[in-house]
Subunit: 311 residues, 2 copies
């Protein structure tokens, strides 16, 4: 039986694993990949990334450490988590079942897709799913944002501070009546295309334009970068029936990254914690591991306890 | 008037400042130093630090960035914060008063001292105030921990997993009756010296022993490292009367690093958030800056809004 199983190898899960290893817990990381979203960087012509992307060097160091300590990981997909005596069981796709006293869920979230031609081809090549990390790159450039809820409006507002022009493609009226929506509508460098649907993404080596349509009106919007801001879907189904989730499906956590299920902790984009920044996920992963460690320290053990048998 | 004033230049405050600068806020960092606790590293004979200390490279990069952008900082001590029209005023020791729409308090915490001869001399040279970061270094070594509350007991338990011997100097009975206290008392490699007071720290280039005394009994305890775990005092007096604090004086924050005072945010060791790790403070600083940014985005502005006037 493991002390701790961590599910998911993005920034939060990697950090939790490294912290747990340093606490000398008997730990297993189960993940489909190492690095998570840091493996996907927006590629743009003529842009230096080191200016805006933080935390990658930390993630890379942790990836190296875990690749070196290969006993500590299984590359597989988790299919089911169930309560088991003394903890939980975790079944993976290949059929194996692992037992642990505590779990950290760090399975992340996926951005909702447009599902139009050209999207896959230009994904991270001029088209991406979060303006928040990249906005500083677009001084005096043309950008397009797709979406009509708070996330899209905030991205458009942030880009409007620096970009030459922001075209907001709002498929419905959405939250355009909010204070922020009104400011966007009144702004001199924002064009709001309400009721338009995205038809396709065009480009060469990089995405260069969006084709949008409203009834009979079809337009092509040129942009140096296109941000699809339709929201995130948390990959939280593995804790269905075990831990509480909010209305958007994110796992609810407290200040110590505990879920409503004793022994199950969560960190990063799968939770209802704030913001999707890599450095924030790293901090959340560290908190989850230390919180699980304290939980394990409080678990009953046989006495007397000898050196090296503190778990 | 600034958009945002950040008080404190440790990991949380530095990160908040860099994030705020990247959001193109009109920002000012007021601090006595840059780097905070990362300037204090435990020095030990024959030990490689890169194995255990995380986040320093991120902090160093942020220090460099802020040193370069010298318009963004004032090296001074904050004496008083008061409500002012549209935000708060911040008065520093040299007498100047700065105004801002929002504040991030990242003033950290100080470890309680022993106040005995030798303490200052050997501080961070074999003697330090948090085992949690350094425990992995002490495989098969002798260590001493001073304190009798939960913090000291947890540090002793963590060291007991790997160290050859842990001597816990408990000035009073404290929490020795807790489950953890009982496990320590039963452990074969932990010696608990209850009711002993520390008299002095002895050493050569590094701390080598603690002199402790109980009534007439004086003992000298040799140790490769000495951890003083008497607790932390949050530097939260600047928000006295403005924002709620817990019983230990830490500023209460929610999941978005908001305090009970609108427009005042807080991050890092000054708050009631979990754990004192550098990587956690970095994540908390990023969250506080982004939360303040969203707060500012929601603040009223004159319309219509032109490009570059989004604040």
């Amino acid at each position: 039986m493991f002390d701790l199983i961590i599910i998911g190898g993005g920034p939060a899960g990697l950090t939790a694993t490294v912290y747990a290893l340093r606490k000398r817990l008997n730990v297993l990381l189960i993940t489909k990949d190492l690095g998570g979203k840091t493996n996907f960087r927006l590629q743009l012509p003529d842009v230096e990334h080191h200016l805006v992307i933080n935390g990658e060097e930390v993630v890379n160091r942790f990836v190296n450490e875990i690749e070196y300590l290969d006993f500590s990981r299984v590359m597989d997909k988790v299919e089911k988590i169930q309560k088991a005596p003394g903890g939980h069981s975790v079944r993976v796709k290949s059929g194996t079942e692992y037992l642990a006293k505590a779990l950290v869920i760090a399975t992340g979230a996926n951005a909702r897709r447009l599902n139009v031609p050209g999207e896959k081809e230009y994904m991270m090549r001029g088209l991406c799913y979060s303006a928040v990390s990249y906005a500083p790159l677009f001084i005096e450039r043309n950008t397009a944002v797709v979406g009509d809820a708070g996330l899209a409006l905030r991205s458009a507002a942030e880009l409007a501070q620096i970009a030459k022009r922001v075209t907001l493609v709002a498929p419905t009226h959405g939250e355009l009546d909010s204070a922020l929506g009104k400011r966007l509508l009144a702004s001199s460098n924002v064009v709001v295309l309400e009721g338009y649907q995205v038809q396709r993404v065009n480009g060469d080596d990089y995405a260069r334009s969006l084709v949008v349509k409203k009834n009979g009106d079809t337009r092509e919007i040129a942009a140096d970068a296109i941000f699809v801001e339709l929201g995130l879907d948390a990959n939280s189904d593995v804790v269905g029936g075990l831990a509480e989730r909010d209305l958007e499906g994110r796992i609810k956590i407290d200040a110590r990254n505990r879920t409503s299920a004793p022994g199950i902790f969560a960190a990063g984009d799968v939770t209802d914690a704030f913001a999707e920044q890599v450095l924030i996920s790293i901090g959340e992963g560290a908190k989850a591991a230390l919180s699980a460690y304290e939980y394990l320290l409080g678990q009953p053990v046989e006495e007397p306890v000898a050196a090296g048998e503190w778990r």
